[in-house]
Each structure stands twice: as C-alpha cells, then as structure tokens.
C-alpha cells in the first residue's frame, strides 16, 4: 500500500459535513485550478464573499447591453442597460479603457458590426411552451455520484449560461457565441482554441435545437476590445465535436474526483503563488491562515450576508448525464 492509499484508508478524517448536492461549474473549476482553498471557502463554508472589480463589473454591464441590443435592436435601451449596470464606484478615470465612457464607445461601435447583417438571435422554446430569444440560456448538466463513498448518491450540477445562440440566415446554421470583453491586445486564437467553457454547450444545442453535437458544432468568441476612441470587435470561431465533449467530461470527472479526495481528507491544499492576482489580494487571505473548521465556520457564518437575489435565471435546460464504461 503506497502512502496515499494508506492515507485514504484511514477512518473518515473530514470535518466537512455531507451535503445533498454540489454545484461545480466552470468558474469552480477555475478556482480549483488556481487555489483549492478558495473552493473550500465557497463550497464547504458557503461564504458569500464575492470579488467584483471594475474589469468584471464592466464586462457584465457590456454583456447586458449587447444582449439587450441583439434582442431588441434598440440602441438607447442597450445603452441604458450598460449605464445602469456599470459599477461606477470602481471608476478612477473616464480615460481608462474600461471606464463607463470607454464601454459606451465600444458598445456603439460594436453594434454597427457587419456580423449582424448575416447573424441574428435564434429563438428557442422553453419546456412550458414559451418562445424566447436564445439569450443567457441557462442550463444544468447534472449527474448522480456516490461522492462520499457511502453509497448515497448526490447530484453534481454543472450550471452554465450560454450568452447567445445565433442563427446565420445566409448559411442556415446555428452557433453558440460567448461575449468576451478585453482591454488588451493578445493572441486570442491561442487563448480560446482549447478553452473549455463552451464545450458542453454542444449538449445544450442538441437538446434545444436537435443538432447532433457529435458531428460538429460551431463555437464563436465575440471579442470586443474596450476603448472610447479605438474599440474593435471580431468573431473567432472554432468547430467542436463529440471528441471535444468527451475530453471535457473526462477533465470534469477528474476534477470531481479531486474534490472527493479533498473532502474525504478534510484538506484542501493552498496554492500560495496565487494569493495575489492582478495586483489584488485574494478575498479569503485574512481567513486562510486557519485550518480550524469550527473557527472558520463561525467566522464565515457571522459575516455571511444573504446574497442579493441573482438576476440570473434558474436553469431551465436540464440534462441528465449517465457516465459508463
């Protein structure tokens, strides 16, 4: 028996409670990769701390504006969405690329894109029969897993939101689009060629539109560079297929297995190199010194605030995955 097997064979070490479901989405996987302790604070202690910055806030506001315009084709309506949702409290100067003014310039530029002469928003029908534009399509890919090794199955939910499902009226085809906002130039092809966020969207396309993801589906990254005077936008597209979905699922299951191991051991490792990111301290830095479950549980429950109702909709595309040999 090797040392790891010996460790795992010990009686249950974990102070963490058992739960009935666990949400592990794309952002959770990102946290797991950058620092598992961050995920420990979020999932085991259910901390309500959220880390909003000007970059993340302006990106969200731009999403709202674009999605509004693509559905309603009303410039001012989209502009209002942008202005009312922009996190103005973080703005230092209107000359910054991601300032409110920079975002307005980018929005006004991007909606004039030639892309919209051939692409339009697709419409899908919800299970209750309501026909809706395919904007912010919320889905839940879920599977049952014996997470605690006790024979009790719990739901593992992968909850995601597809920014846009677009329809090309000239070539009669569909694509999922993910809106990306950036302030920097970069090699976007390298950045997004193997990006995993959009891979499971193929399953949603199959469920909603009857497209066979295994034969290939199109993923578009609509990249918009924020700038008041020199904004730009471009669409990068990649074709994905069944192999990509299988690879995504393997990676996802490995992450679940890793979480199972951390939970069983009662130990989520810390990645000390990532305590600072973009020159900002990790939001859990002040708590991270402690490994005492009771102390952390008390501290976090005292400071936890009821999260303001998310304006993101509940998932309405539910897909059950059954994983086999």
């Amino acid at each position: 028996m090797n040392p790891l097997q010996a460790l795992m064979a010990q009686p249950r070490l974990s102070p963490f409670p058992e739960f009935d479901k666990l949400d592990v989405s794309h952002s959770s996987r990102g946290s797991l990769s950058s620092c598992p302790r961050k995920l420990e604070f979020r999932k085991m202690y259910e901390s309500s701390r959220r880390d909003e910055t000007q970059a993340t806030g302006s990106g969200k506001a731009m999403h709202e504006a674009f999605q509004s315009w693509i559905v309603h084709k009303d410039v001012d309506r989209g502009l209002w969405e942008l202005v009312s949702r922009y996190p103005i409290q973080y703005q230092k100067s209107s000359m910054d690329a991601n300032s409110l003014e920079g975002c307005i310039g980018t929005y006004l530029h991007c909606i004039e894109s030639d892309l919209f002469s051939e692409w339009e928003i697709a419409h899908v029908v919800k299970p209750d029969g309501e026909k809706v534009p395919a904007v912010e399509v919320s889905f839940n890919l879920r599977m049952q897993v014996d997470f605690f090794g006790t024979g009790r199955m719990i739901w593992i939910n992968y909850i995601g939101f597809i920014d846009l499902i677009m329809y090309n009226r000239i070539e009669d085809r569909y694509a999922v689009w993910d809106i990306k906002t950036t302030t920097k130039e970069g090699d976007f092809v390298t950045q997004y060629a193997f990006d995993e966020q959009c891979l499971p969207y193929g399953l949603v396309l199959q469920k909603l539109l009857g497209l066979d993801y295994a034969r290939g589906y199109e993923v578009g990254y609509w990249i918009t560079k924020l700038h008041a005077v020199e904004p730009y936008e471009k669409l990068l597209t990649f074709t994905k297929d069944g192999d990509d979905v299988i690879q995504w699922l393997r990676g996802y299951l490995l992450d679940i297995h890793m979480l199972q191991t951390y939970h069983r051991l009662g130990f989520f490792p810390r990645h000390g190199g990532n305590c600072s990111s973009w020159n900002r301290r990790c939001q859990f830095f002040d708590l991270c010194d402690s490994r005492d479950y009771n102390y952390l549980e008390t501290m976090i429950s005292m400071e936890n605030v009821e999260l303001a109702g998310s304006d993101r909709p509940e998932p309405w595309v539910i897909i059950d995955l059954e994983v086999g040999e």
Binding site: D74, V124, I170, K207, I246, D320
Partner: protein, 208 residues
Amino acid sequence: MSFRLNPPKQPAKAVAETPAKKPAFSIGKPKVQKPAQTLTARFEEAKQTQSNLNSLVGKKVEAEPKASGLGNLLANKPVPHEEQVAAKEVATIKLAEISEKYVLNADATEKLPQTVLDDFTAKMQHLIFAMDTQELQTALHSVLNFAQENPHLRDILRAEDIQLVVRAARKSYGLTVVAKTKGKTRTTKKAALDADIMADLADVSFTI
C-alpha cells in the same frame, strides 16, 4: 469511456425553433411584371418621374423618426410615435416637474426615505444644469453612484429620467472622446513640428 443523455421523464415540447427563413438574396422590391407599354408611354412615365425628383431639389426630406424604445423601456412595448416626440422634449423639461414627480409615485416611494428622494432629485437637477458643461461627467457619475447605493430608485424612474441619463451618458462619452483626441492632435502637431525642424536641418550645409 462513454456517456449518454438520459431522456427526460416528461419529454419537453418540440424545441427547435428556426427563425423564419428570409428569401435568399432578394435585394430591393420584388419585380412586378408590367403590361407591355408603348415607347411613348414609357417616355411619358420617365418624364413624370424625373419631374417628381426635380420638385424635391432644395427641399429637406424629413426621415421617419427612428424608434428609440425609451418610452416603454420598462414595459417592453413598441414605442408609439407620440411618445418618441414627448421624449424629445426632455431637453426643455421644467425643473418643477422633476422635483415633484418623485413624491407622486407613492407606492414605489414607500421603500425609500424622503431624504433619499430629496438627494436624488437634487442630483438629477444638478445633472440638468451640468448638461452642457465640463461638470457633466462628475454630475452623471454622482447620479449613477447614488442609484447604485439605493437600488430601489430604479423602481421610480420614469422614461424621461432614463432618457436624461442616457443623453448625459452619450455626452459624457463625447467629452472623453474629445479629451482623448485632443491629446492625440497635440502629439501629431508636435511630431509634425519636429519633422519640419528636421527637414530644415537637413538642408543645412557647412563650408570650411
């Protein structure tokens, strides 16, 4: 490894919804077969068309107003023409109307203390005064900041308030563009001046 998607217990309704197909590449109006005309008749028709066009020369043709949707932002309805016209009159809105309307909407204001309403009214008034000045950005950011601190304000905003904020946002963007472009022009001018000096120096020759 394989996986399969479990069929839902209650199958969803037919879900594929393809947007109505548009005719492939039909540019302009569809061609209508006209009855055969004599050459004279066609000439007369062309003359008439030309005469109509000539009558437009020198006249300004008013385009149909573009739907802005502001009048019904919150109600999600198409915008009637009358409301668009009303929205245009925001520029001349009276301050008295602005100050009064926040106390008129009694249901929505229950959640907001009177002091918040008063402060917001003052900030909106400041925004109106600052509309054509360099103070605009400060006034706009102040309104937006205040609205974020008091999210219930969103419930009492009317179409004309939204119009005002959107208009201010456009102007604020314009100010930033001017400021950024001005910087660039200076740089360009300096570069041009440098280039001129270098060109002059290039002609300098020395004889010993």
